[in-house]
Amino acid sequence: MNAKRNYKNKEDDIFILALESSCDETAASVNKNGLEVLANVVSSQVELHQKFGGVVPEIASRKHLELLLPVIDEALEKAGLEFRDLDAVAATYGPGLVGGLLVGLTAAKAIALSLEIPLIAVNHIAGHIYANFIDNPQIKKPLICLTISGGHTDLLYFEDLKGYEILGRTRDDAAGEAFDKIARYMGLGYPGGPAIEKAAVEGDPQAIDFPRAVMADNSFDFSFSGLKTAVMNYINNQKQKGKEIDQADLAASFQEAVVDSLSSKLLEAVKKYDIKSVVLSGGVAANKRLREVVEAELKEVEIEFYYPSLELCTDNAAMIGAVAYYQYLDRDFASLAISADPSLKL
């Protein structure tokens, strides 16, 4: 691209179009100066994947290709801007499903080349952290962020975009995946998180004692496979004995075990690191029981607690655009040769 370029600075208004297509949401946003969201358009494919009980990568990729252009159009229209008004274009380049990532990233490259504006490649996980700053710009750092969804279970320590590290991840299923699998097994439908939460409302969380994974090496990693097996065994045993299963109790007890595993690791990390706030993000962060438990425990240790609004919890492009703004100020631009990285780390 052209070298004779005048980039804007902090004092100027900077408009960034961001694209997100790493999983099953096709999303485009326009952000002004990072945290001011002028448009945040998300087209969800949930219904398309429902019958499979999980996201099918090839089906998702096909849909991203169909939806991306209309979603971009809608974002620009809502923001009241034209392509030529944009200062940069951003896209998620990982982690995620490679086929979907490539659609959004390729579109961003084509836009960057066409308009001769910088391309900004954003890490999806950083996006989930910044989703919190859109709703609550006053959040104090350093912070600990727990990102939980169908695609991630990441416990992170975060100072700024250049200083963050992963404390723990899942060793098997992501938290949201565990919800999806158990919900499918219980016949509650997809996506599993909201389905189980709904079924658990009238149930007793102490009814069934499910195991909580303990890591032998004392790490902050998570594991949900043991719990998943325990729930499936419980269901099969009850069936074999001809006993009726109380769906509400089962859902509530399973949910409690997941919430327990997540919140206990989070609290351990809070005690170990010198931080000012804790933020939750990702689709599973919408779980009310989890919020309740974490909120109560953080009150005791006087740490501020935030979680984003629902539309910023789940995958969206506004959070990508927020990160992109700070990368723009750092002139952290990507080359047109960048490729998607499905297993991108922080």
Binding site: K51, V56, E58, S61, L65, F83, T106, L113, A340
Partner: protein, 242 residues
Amino acid sequence: MLILGIDTSTDYLALSLLEDNLVKAEYNLSLKRQHSEKLLPLMEELFQTFAIKAQDLDAIAVSIGPGSFTGLRIAITTAKMLGRIFDIPVKGISTLEIMAAGQRADYILTMLDARRARVYYSFYSRKKADFKTDLEKKLNLKELYQASSIKIEQLAELLSAYKGEEILLLGDKTDKAAEILKRENFNVITADPENNYPRSAVLARLGRDYINLGQEDDIYQLKPAYLKKPQAELNWQQKYGG
């Protein structure tokens, strides 16, 4: 009229620039799976070489497959964005047709690997007597069979009506197909390697011809010719029907 041809449907990263009747540039790079990394930098280099800008383009021709699903989406996404930003016509062209349109034989069978002993194929005639529509007459090409996939062993049955004709085989698995057809006494010939892939200059020329005939695509509807449902969908149908 300045037309950009983009093809990422096969192992070839193919990019060309056609100005009216003049091929200004043609890249056909057998790079396999690097299309995502190489396409946009190559476009940038092409524009710089000719001191043009993306906004100088008048039309885009893009191959829509069949081919690698992921590969197809790279070129098509790029074409859609250029079409949208500069409000220029975009035409999607079958990869099988690009191969056939670059040849002069009367009957042409073009094939692309569909794995598991299958090929995606289409069958074309260049005989004037076969042309019915104005479009066929102007393009000097008629697609006799709609593109589909077939077991390579079944080609003889498919082409039985053309046993007496000379048929040019092009694309993937031509040696295997020639062997099968010769065994059944077909009159087949194969192409030299420099003609045996979809050339991007042919794509750009076809795009120009279609667009001049008013046959541009709606970029919002434009999608790959996958010719195959996602595997998960096929599995689901097998299990639950429908």
